[in-house]
Symmetry: C2
Subunit: 224 residues, 2 copies
DNA sequence: AAAGTTGTTGACCAAACGGTCGATAATGAC
DNA sequence: GTCATTATCGACCGTTTGGTCAACAACTTT
């Protein structure tokens, strides 16, 4: 079957056979996907540290040995998931277009976070734990720091058009921290004991206030 | 020795002998204190779930069995620590006096958090984990929900003078969540990769903006 | 000082966990 | 169809962990 695809090549031109995926490769990919999905589930249910490899494989309905064929340990699959979640979040941040003012930009940033976390609460809980692990003395740190830095850069890029050159990188980074902190912080408190609709009606007016004060802050900073 | 103290009683009046503490009782109290201090240390270093009972007793320089004479399990000692930390925070919140405007009040609330967490980073990391555990499917939940609710009530009490009766409890709770969320969120991001002085200079201007927007929000809410 | 009470200890056990490996099943090459 | 390759499986092993308990030490009582 695979031969058929490469058979179509003519002369010297060798197509990289993108569709020449074996059934085996498909199965492997599917297995890995199942493991990642199961891990995300149990991580957000029990917590990463409280989760055992058996928890993951049983949730994925796979053998234990299969896990170790795809990941070296729990830290690696967590890094994978964090990377995946942040990549997802960054993608949505980069889709933000047609904003002209800083207020609009900030509002969009918060809106993206808001909708992402509301739809992907499991990812939120995962990133929350990831952020904690970075503070704790863990080995995972190195592998997870990079995705979070990419995330900050994405926010900074969205804000940079409205920031004067005088504002140094450190200040922008702090600012991005504040934005991310507000969103993460609010969600961490809101997600316990609030329904989705409550969160929506609860955060909306506060968001507007927050956006206004942040833009006022930025404008002020630019002047000095 | 103990008899000497109760000997002082005259006629029917029986003093509750507060100073009649045995050496034994003192030792017991000291041991329990050592366990709590050690647990706070290792919890904030390795994370609660990654910490073993041996970690705690070794850090406290005590035998393993001693732990189980004071606490039934890890969940109980964690509840104790969370309760202690929040009680500490609430005390400092209640010391806030001589504020006349809502802006002052909000500024004080955030200032108390700020100073408390800067001086007690271990407690901050503990509460951060506690907040996570409330979201996860754990048994500890019941014992830890109450301290957090007391914490919210303390914030609400400070704000209530400036809130019209029209604003229902749910809204005030949401508002308290936002305040706590902002502080927790900012710290969680700031504490990684920032020195104490950086945090101070970084949060100050943002804090002012945040306070302004929150008070504006409250004033607006009161009108409607 | 002797006996009784209570806190402390760390060796010990059973359960749980991380990680391995030979057996098995699915797939690809010929 | 046969053989080679490779993913999957789950029983198995060594280690770690939570929790117990008999012995010991500190202290109190009489």
């Amino acid at each position: 079957m695979v031969m058929d695809v490469s058979q179509e090549n003519r002369d010297g031109i060798v197509e990289t056979p993108k569709k020449a995926i074996n059934r085996t490769e498909k199965r492997v990919a599917k297995t890995k996907k199942k493991l990642l999905a199961a891990a995300l589930e149990v991580f957000s249910e029990y917590g990463v540290d409280a989760t055992t490899i058996d928890d993951i494989t049983q949730r994925a309905d796979l053998g234990k040995g299969t896990f170790y064929r795809h990941f070296s340990d729990k830290a690696e699959i967590m890094s994978c998931l964090v990377d995946q979640a942040i990549e997802n979040l960054i993608e949505k941040l980069q889709k933000v277009e047609s904003v002209t003012t800083i207020e609009e930009s900030l509002d969009c940033i918060i809106d993206v976070h808001y909708r992402f976390f509301l739809e992907h609460q499991e990812e939120f809980i995962l990133l929350f734990q990831g952020r904690l692990f970075l503070k704790l003395d863990r080995q995972i740190t190195e592998q997870m720091e990079e995705p979070f830095n990419r995330y900050f850069e994405a926010i900074e890029n969205l804000l940079s058009p409205y920031v004067s050159e005088k504002m140094d990188l450190l200040r922008i980074r702090r600012f991005a921290c504040a934005v991310a902190g507000f969103v993460f912080g609010f969600f961490s408190f809101a997600m316990i004991g609030m329904e989705s609709e409550e969160i929506e009606t609860g955060i909306k007016p506060l968001r507007q206030s927050f956006v206004k004060s942040l833009s006022a802050f930025l404008v002020q900073q630019n002047k000095t």
